[in-house]
Symmetry: C2
Subunit: 255 residues, 2 copies
DNA sequence: GGTGGGCGTTAACATAGGTCATTGTGGAGG
DNA sequence: CCTCCACAATGACCTATGTTAACGCCCACC
């Protein structure tokens, strides 16, 4: 369903802010993006945008709301392999391979922009900053995924939660969707559990401990987290932002 | 330390075979590769080739032996995030960002080829098949990593081992380093544990069960695995090869 | 031909985290 | 106003996996 207008850069600043952190978005790039954004689509919660095993050629940009990338096992177990927030692209891998190798589902009402595979190829061919910036954001996603694996394989429940919260804080700050120490977190405990490889009950326990500690505060109604002591949470998580804050090495592969 | 000669394609077939699965390697591509391979380096077990946090501009190609990609926590916990086998490239992310965001260490005596960042950039700029093929192999690695996360987050010890073995069987077969149902596996139980997010003891237990089952056979001396019943192991793992066997969509982003 | 170190194997025991079951609460819809 | 439903919260209990500790084997090295 069609939704918001696209008056200049009102709602799409997220992507620009993020990409800008990598490569300067020229007027031309912005124009290109803006043209691509001509038609946005609204997606409702629980709707799948990409489905594992199904062909897809296009690239997507999430412009508002949250989504997850996940895989299912036949007995219903689900592992969430990533979270998509405004400014994130997805579908690139699916467009390079024949088919999507994981599913993407909206968590909240979201709006997305579909960039035809052809347009994206053209951008790459022209070596526009935009194309390069998107490649960079794929690499960054790869880094995030590697940290996710460490979280799943070698951290305790408490550490996993702490680490995820700090990671999200950083990512959201980059697109100005988080304050210094608080943000809107539309994840149910079930989603957290499937992200962190834990049971719902245990997520609840660990969360409560963190709250009793006074380390964080949750407002379940407004779905808001406040991190009372960012330093402490970071220490629990043993978080180091290296994998998120890397600028590009412009002389390198992207030269 | 300098080692083998590079007479034509003797030892480097692995990479070619793998890349060929993606895009036809023209004579020109082969020539380029071969020029790049001019000097190979030998790396001894336990030697780090890349270190998390340390700058690196070059791309590497592993031409023989095994290596791992890993991260450490301050108390010594280690999570292996990937295995590198002959034909695998690494260092691309490190070259796009300022620094490596994980470490790469040789498991066996290996030989590697260092491709200067500049040469790689040039290949990309020229849109050579080689450059594209390398991008493709990065994407494939991303897919493998996503499956790794699922393995860590939502599979039991037994399933994790089964899944890893089948994955390695497939990957090794692609470069002709595995037979129909057996291959050389130079991973100690400690490495398996750090890969699978388990303790050494528990890896041992799960492995023994698999052996008692008759599902697999191990020759610890010769470091060889024989999978007596590939179908069964695959069913235990709930393995589907989609994420490994994807050919390229040449009309897509790589068009 | 000792000896020491790396690796695999096992048993006994400890615990983080899973499962099951129940209750509360707020919002959506009749 | 009542009902339903999704979600959070918690207690009781269970189990997969971790920990500690010991032992054996092979092999490299002295």
């Amino acid at each position: 369903m069609q939704a918001e207008r696209t008056p200049g850069w009102s709602g799409d600043l997220h992507a620009v802010r993020k990409l800008h952190a990598f490569a300067p978005m020229t007027g031309h790039d912005r124009e290109t993006l803006s043209r691509l954004m001509a038609h946005r689509t609204r997606v409702e919660p629980h709707e799948d945008i990409l489905v594992e095993g199904v062909p897809s050629r296009d690239i997507f940009l999430l412009t508002s709301g949250w989504a997850i990338r996940y895989k299912l096992l036949s007995d219903g177990r689900r592992q969430i392999v990533g979270h998509l927030i405004p400014g994130d692209f997805f579908g690139l891998r699916a467009s390079m391979f024949q088919i999507a190798d994981d599913s993407v589902q909206a968590l909240t009402t979201t709006s997305i922009v579909r960039i035809p595979g052809k347009s994206f190829s053209a951008m790459l061919r022209d070596r526009s900053n935009l194309g390069m910036a998107i490649m960079w954001s794929v690499m960054r996603e790869h880094s995030i995924l590697a940290e996710h694996a460490v979280r799943l394989g070698r951290r305790s429940a408490r550490e996993r939660i702490a680490h995820l919260l700090i990671e999200l804080l950083h990512r959201l700050q980059l697109v100005r969707l988080a304050g210094d120490n608080e943000f809107h977190l539309p994840l149910t405990q079930e989603v957290l559990a499937d992200t962190l490889g834990l049971s719902i009950v245990h997520v609840n326990r660990a969360l409560r401990r963190l709250r009793n500690d006074g380390t964080i505060a949750l407002d379940p109604q407004r779905r808001r987290v406040v991190i009372n002591d960012v330093g402490r949470l970071g220490r629990i998580a043993e978080f180091s932002a290296g994998y998120l804050d890397q600028g590009p090495a412009l002389g390198g592969a992207a030269d």
